[in-house]
């Protein structure tokens, strides 16, 4: 089962003929991801990495029946590429591109309203359902099919937690990197909803950090929902100097909110177990699952 992507997901890549895209798509194919085509305006009719290239997403979808797209288009055109995929009603779209202008994402967000697409990103490492589908650029070595859903704003912390959950014998159902940009596609709440409905997922790990209000929104959602699966959270940035921009475009505080302690308090009040630090995330989840069965 898992969420968003699985072994039956057929994938196209927008901007497939670029160097970075070629590198990562080749690896995704080797991983076993069903890549069925690529999109590159002007190169329709050619082939790349042994799959057909189309001029438009609509054409690629109608010819291949693709159910997911990964966008590797440079920042200036990334928003148009995302909107093209949304208009072609591609169910799952991941955008890897970093540094997309925020007002472009405002346009994308508007296009998403009422659409059938789950957008992940931009500035996302993507989605990984172990041994089934890699719709992203993450390294794969430590992931194992299993029962823990991971949703994260940070790529490197996701790798940490994937390795930990595997070592703890838990494995992962799916990992989703929602990206660190201020305006992005699906967030913690949508991923929590999907994980709660997924029978394979027994627990969810949420990896947050300072900035924005995503963790507080997740807490509000968990309070109001009848979600019964254990949720463990790591919130990075308890010791970040206040009011400094820390790398992601998103970590800017507005009106005093968004600091780590505020987020931790909100999540704790929603029944979320807080991992004491990034080394003990899987252990915290293991204990939560044990308490459940005890």
């Amino acid at each position: 089962m898992a969420i968003l992507v699985g072994s039956d997901t057929s994938v196209i890549c927008q901007g497939m003929t670029g160097r970075a895209a070629s590198y990562h798509i080749e690896r995704a194919m080797a991983y076993g991801t069903k890549v069925v085509g690529g999109v590159r305006p002007g190169k329709g009719g050619t082939r790349h990495l042994d799959v057909p290239i189309f001029d438009s997403v609509r054409e690629a979808v109608s010819q291949t029946g693709a159910t997911a797209s990964i966008v590797f288009v440079p920042p200036a055109n990334a928003a148009d590429a995302m909107i093209e995929a949304i208009e072609a009603e591609v169910p799952v779209v991941v955008c890897v591109t970093e540094r997309v202008p925020v007002l472009d994402m405002v346009r994308v967000k508007d296009a998403l309203e009422g659409s059938k697409t789950h957008l992940v990103g931009p500035n996302s490492q993507g989605i990984l359902t172990p041994k089934a589908c890699k719709l992203g650029v993450m390294a794969t070595a430590h992931e194992r099919p299993g029962s823990i859903g991971i949703v994260s704003r940070s790529a490197t912390l996701t790798s940490e937690v994937v390795a930990q959950t595997t070592a703890a014998g838990l494995g992962q159902s799916t990992t989703v990197g929602i990206g660190g940009d201020p305006v992005h596609g699906i967030g913690f709440v949508e991923c929590l909803e999907l994980f709660m409905d997924d029978p394979e997922t027994k627990g969810v790990i949420l990896i947050g950090e300072i900035g924005g209000a995503g963790e507080e929104m997740a807490a509000d959602f968990l309070k109001s929902s009848k979600a019964s699966k254990p949720v463990v959270a790591l919130v990075a940035g308890r010791h970040a100097p206040p009011e400094r921009r820390m790398g992601h475009a998103g970590t800017l505080t507005l009106f005093g909110r968004a600091d780590a302690n505020h987020k931790i308090k909100a999540l704790r009040s929603a029944g979320v177990q807080i991992a004491p630090n990034s080394s003990q995330v899987a252990e915290t989840m293991r204990q939560s699952l044990n308490n459940l069965s005890a």
Partner: protein
């Protein structure tokens, strides 16, 4: 990119936003010349630093003659201004803005920004502006009114006149407020701003609106669309070390501890700082090596650590991903250690993509270091190096 007040006012004047007459000056005599051209007999001389809280810090002076403008400019220029947003080191004042003083009957707060929660541009405002707006809004969020906008700047629901009324702009002020909102929003969208803040927006005795102070931030990611802004960045406002790092695809923040930190990814970097601080370690810097950094970029970033005399030991905590691998980072460290005379005790934790190859490269460079088994081990070892008494 933060703009100076004078740059922001210059931009907004093209969008029908009412502003006091004024100009920028880099010397006291230039300030005096600006004042001579201005209407009225009262003037405001304002330090041009990119930080809020200037008024409370003495960076804004109201004077009654051209001679006093000269004196005020002389006092401010070259001074280091410390406000609640500059940090204790403050900012040096290299320009002043001289403008006609406007008598305000009441101060309003208006801003345009990107609302992260809805993913929309939002017009926000409050009946009462002033430098304490953040504290008041934090204590009572209901004083802030919000109008969400579609990508073309039209309200999603509600109207500009209704919004104007909520922040106390009614009667003859309503139409003027709507014109101001439309100008601000248009300036925001056309210039790829991420923030325009008018605080305060003055209501005068003659029922006019005047934007007394403006803060404007341009989205760095959109600068490729604005070649006209290429010269707007005031490099003197930035820390030279952090600027050097930025040019090498590294996010770097100077801090005052003794443990140099090398990490890839902002999230892992924040988590590393949390773990270090929990056991009494004090980081000398924040470092997030971007996925796009080459080994030469990383070497330049490591040079910055080695050039900081406070650094007593360095912790490398890298989780190689699909885009930034351990070997690239090892090569960068190797290049830097070879070309610098200084050596520091080094604790290295590599995990993920090409971790073993990273260690092989470091050994081939002939670098002595301690290999950490995992993140917790690395943290313990580096703290033990700088605080043997605590270990």
């Amino acid at each position: 990119m933060n703009l100076h007040e004078y740059q922001a006012k210059d931009l907004l004047s093209g969008f029908g936003v009412p502003l006091p007459a004024g100009d920028v000056a880099q010397s006291s005599s230039a300030a005096q010349n600006v004042a001579r051209r201005l209407p009225g007999e009262r003037y405001v001389v304002k330090a041009q630093v990119q930080a809020g809280g200037r008024g409370r810090a003495g960076g804004v002076k109201i004077v009654d003659s051209v001679a006093e403008v000269r004196q005020a400019a002389e006092d401010l220029l070259g001074q280091t201004l410390v406000t609640e947003q500059t940090g204790p080191e403050g900012r040096s004042v290299r320009a002043v803005y001289v403008e006609e003083a406007i008598a305000s009957e009441r101060d309003i707060y208006v801003a345009v920004l990107v609302d992260r929660q809805s993913g929309r541009v939002a017009l926000i405002g409050a009946k009462q502006g002033g430098e304490d707006i953040e504290e008041r809004a934090a204590a009572n969020p209901s004083i802030i009114h919000t109008l969400l906008l579609k990508p073309d700047g039209v309200p999603v629901k509600g109207t500009f006149p209704a919004f104007a009324k909520k922040i106390g702009l009614t009667g003859p002020l309503s139409a003027k407020a709507v014109k101001l909102f439309e100008g601000l929003i248009s300036a925001f969208l056309k210039n790829d701003a991420s923030l325009i803040e008018i605080n305060p927006l003055a209501v005068t005795a003659s029922n006019d609106l005047v934007a007394l102070d403006v803060k404007m931030v341009i989205d760095d990611n959109a600068l490729f669309r604005h070649p006209e802004m290429r010269n707007f960045r005031d490099r003197d406002e930035l820390d030279p070390v952090e600027l050097q790092a930025q040019e090498n695809e590294i996010n770097y923040v100077r801090m005052d501890g003794d443990i140099g930190v090398v990490v890839n990814g902002a999230g892992l970097a924040l988590a590393t700082h949390d773990m270090l601080s929990d056991v009494g370690g004090v980081p000398a810097n924040f470092m997030d090596i971007r996925t796009t950094a080459t080994s030469l970029d990383i070497a330049a970033g490591f040079d910055l650590l080695l050039s900081n005399p406070n650094v007593a030991a360095v912790l490398v905590n890298v989780h190689g991903g699909g885009m930034q691998r351990c070997d690239t980072i090892a090569e960068g460290i190797g290049i830097s250690m070879k070309r610098n005379d200084r050596t520091v005790p080094l604790v290295v934790r590599f995990a993920g993509n090409n971790a073993d190859y990273g260690h092989t490269l470091l050994r081939n460079y002939g670098i002595a270091y301690t290999e950490a088994q995992d993140m917790g081990d690395g943290i313990e070892r580096v703290v033990a190096l700088v605080r043997p008494e605590a270990a």
